[in-house]
Amino acid sequence: MTQTLTEDDLYRTSTQYRLWSFSPESLAAQRRKTHDLAIERARRYGGSLSSGGSEDGAAHEEAYVRADEELRLVQRYCEQIRTTSDHFKWPINVKATAVQYLRRFYLSNSCLTYPPKEIYKTVLFLACKTEATHMTLSEYARRISTDPDAILAPEYKVMQALRFTLDVRQPYKGLKGVLMELLNMASGMVGEVEGVDTKGAKALQQDMLGLEKPPKDAQTIWTAPAGNTEVKHLTDRINAAYSAARQLLDKPALLTDVYFLYTPSQLLLAALRLADSPLLSFYLTTKLPLSSPVRPKILATVHSCADFLAAFSERQIMTKDERAALEAKLESCLDPSTKDLVKAHAAAKLGSESDEEEKVKKRKLAREKSFKEGEELFGPSLGAAGAANGGKG
């Protein structure tokens, strides 16, 4: 029973596909549902919170954080994760994983329940563990000047919200693969794909040299040389496109919902398209047979993904003041049951800890007793022994 799996089938086996991929509508619906539930809960305990003997419902509504504000706050903390990770000089995959953890966490939890100010530290620490970039907890806590317990307290909750799936498929490795293939094509080597007629490596190289210039709005810093394009220039062009695409995958990709909506492969091709569209369309002609029925669909998906990335702008990111205002507002309507996560965490662990203490105490007592008996060379003192005997008799 030989079964053949293509790259697409491999992706369909991943948890990212099975649990963490959404259509735009379902993503919005999911967020709305989470937010509505959070607001409902907030209303339930809201009465006790509002001290000034409350007025009408409208004022209350004003007090709660809106769904779009919540989303922007999460985005703000994604940016925070990026800067913190860069500060630690961690590799890019830690950053991407941590950002995705944060986004996934806030799909089923609201900022009203768990403030992102605390959670982002936890997910970053979790990501550095899952991506095998190790740092001790004490070192990490020291460098972000936080209490270690505050980092660990929400960890289990985060794991639960992530449904214990820690794999985040990222586009960076794939982007390197594309870079390798493009460079090989530029130097006249090609691995033919079944069903695609490429007329040989030399012809491809010539085609590649004759590619049109990148358009004005392209992200690449490469500019066409004055004279004839040579292989050297071509290599530069590819490398420039690569680094531009990487930039795009670093910032806009991490600060938008693109991981939920597209696959890493589509994402990296979209980034390349923004960087150098003639190069990318040339590359895709060597990959997708013209007769293939999915070809137009793949191209359309890559285009829409590229548009999604291009729509991102720096201005969307919340400023510091805005954040401070929002968090002050959040503070007033925070869920009291999850306010002190450290305490809750300690309480959850308490039962097992007290047992442990008892055991330690018992062991200590036994040790002292045996030590005392060893000290008295000729056994316990006569009086004590006699008393014991008398008791028995």
Binding site: T2, T4, L5, T6, E7, S23, N109, S265, A348
Partner: protein, 388 residues
């Protein structure tokens, strides 16, 4: 050579007589009918160089199984030292090689030849009785083999028979090899068994001797004891009676001990199973199927639809690793990296999340926003219902 025997082909071997029967007949005839040729006969003169044993007492005659013409050792050295040459006997055109020359074993050159042929045939037709359904089939087979042997020995239809012989050899190469190995193993284990038996016999002899010595010594001790007691002035009759009783008791003890020993031995023998007992008439064992190559993915093949891996990539990021001993020594192949990268580059290119997820959502309209609802449920709670 025209050595046509007048015997009927069926006469010698018979049905199940085995291939050796005929040989024995021939050999018996040889010793009875052909007395040693006298040293004056032509056998003592080399037919090539005409030197005779009379002049050279160390003369050795050699034959080549190709044509069985006899010649002296010095002629062999002289003619065949420089490689294969024609037989120097007039009328014989066969090409001979030096390394095939050997000393004659049997006086009669015909017997020598027959033994050779039989050896050759036996080496190929080495089927064993266990491989046959019954004795009848085995005997039929032996009969066929004997026919072939007889034809070869007596030069009847040599061409045809030779062809059949070779065809069989070619067709059954593997089985022949296996049977030969089996025979070899049997030979080895048989000699090992014989050795073990000899060892046991020696041990038995030693034990018997020791026992005898012990007995003799005890008798002497007893005698001395009786004498001592007599010397110390005890009643002669009682002492003698007591001495006899002690001796008798000791002997009885010893006998009982050996008997016990023997019983123990017998018990252990029956437990181990006697090696002499051979089960006959077994069918050939079903050979185990050769092991299939390991399939780590359990029948799933991973095919790449969007790329073909190349052996070499010019990207400088992997050039150092490719040559670095630290990486190569551990068995790391940079192709693993390139393959993984390319696989990651296209994994999911043809997956359209928006479409597929809409379809899936239609199938399962289930709530997922349970996290917030259950925020107050303790941290220990790990009930995570998978909606899929």
């Amino acid at each position: 050579m025209s050595p046509v025997s007048k015997r009927d082909p069926r006469l010698g071997g018979g049905g199940g007589g085995g291939p050796d029967g005929e040989l024995h007949t021939v050999m018996r005839g040889l010793s009875l009918q052909a007395p040693m040729p006298t040293d004056t006969g032509p056998a003592e003169v080399c037919p090539v160089c005409k030197s005779s044993r009379y002049l050279n007492s160390s003369l050795r005659f050699l034959v080549n199984p190709e044509c069985y013409h006899k010649m002296c050792e010095s002629c062999v050295d002289r003619i065949f030292s420089h490689g294969p040459a024609q037989c120097p006997i007039p009328g014989c055109r066969r090409t001979l090689r030096k390394h095939r020359f050997r000393e004659q074993t049997f006086e009669d050159i015909q017997v020598e030849r027959e033994v050779d042929i039989r050896k050759k045939v036996q080496a190929v037709f080495n089927k064993r009785e266990e491989e046959f359904e019954g004795l009848r089939e085995y005997n039929d087979y032996l009969n066929d083999v004997e026919d072939i042997t007889f034809n070869l020995v007596n030069n009847i239809d040599v061409e045809e028979t030779g062809r059949r012989f070779e065809a069989y050899q070619k067709a059954n190469e593997k089985e022949i090899e296996e049977n030969a190995q089996l025979a070899q193993q049997e030979k080895v284990s048989f000699s090992a068994m014989q050795k073990a038996e000899r060892q046991q016999a020696r041990e038995r002899r030693d034990a018997a001797r020791r026992e005898e010595n012990d007995e003799r010594r005890e008798v002497e001790e007893n005698k001395r004891d009786v004498l001592n007691r007599l010397a110390s002035g005890a009643d002669a009759e009682t002492v003698a009676k007591e001495g006899q009783q002690v001796q008798l008791k000791k002997r009885m003890d010893r006998q009982a001990a050996t008997e016990r020993q023997r019983q123990l031995q017998a018990a252990s023998d029956s437990r181990n199973g006697s090696s002499n007992f051979v089960v006959k008439g077994l069918k050939a064992k079903q050979k185990a199927e050769p092991e299939a190559p390991i399939d780590p993915f359990g029948g799933i093949r991973i095919a790449s639809k969007y790329f073909t891996l190349q052996d070499h990539y010019v990207w400088e990021g992997i050039q150092d690793t490719q040559k670095d001993v630290k990486h190569i020594a551990g068995g790391y192949d940079v192709r693993d990296y390139t393959h993984r990268s390319l696989c990651a580059a296209f994994s999911g290119l043809g997956v359209f999340i928006a479409d597929e997820m809409t379809e899936r959502d239609r199938a399962t309209q289930d709530s997922e926003a349970i996290g917030t609802v259950r925020a107050d449920i303790g941290l220990k709670d790990s009930l995570m219902a998978d909606p899929l």
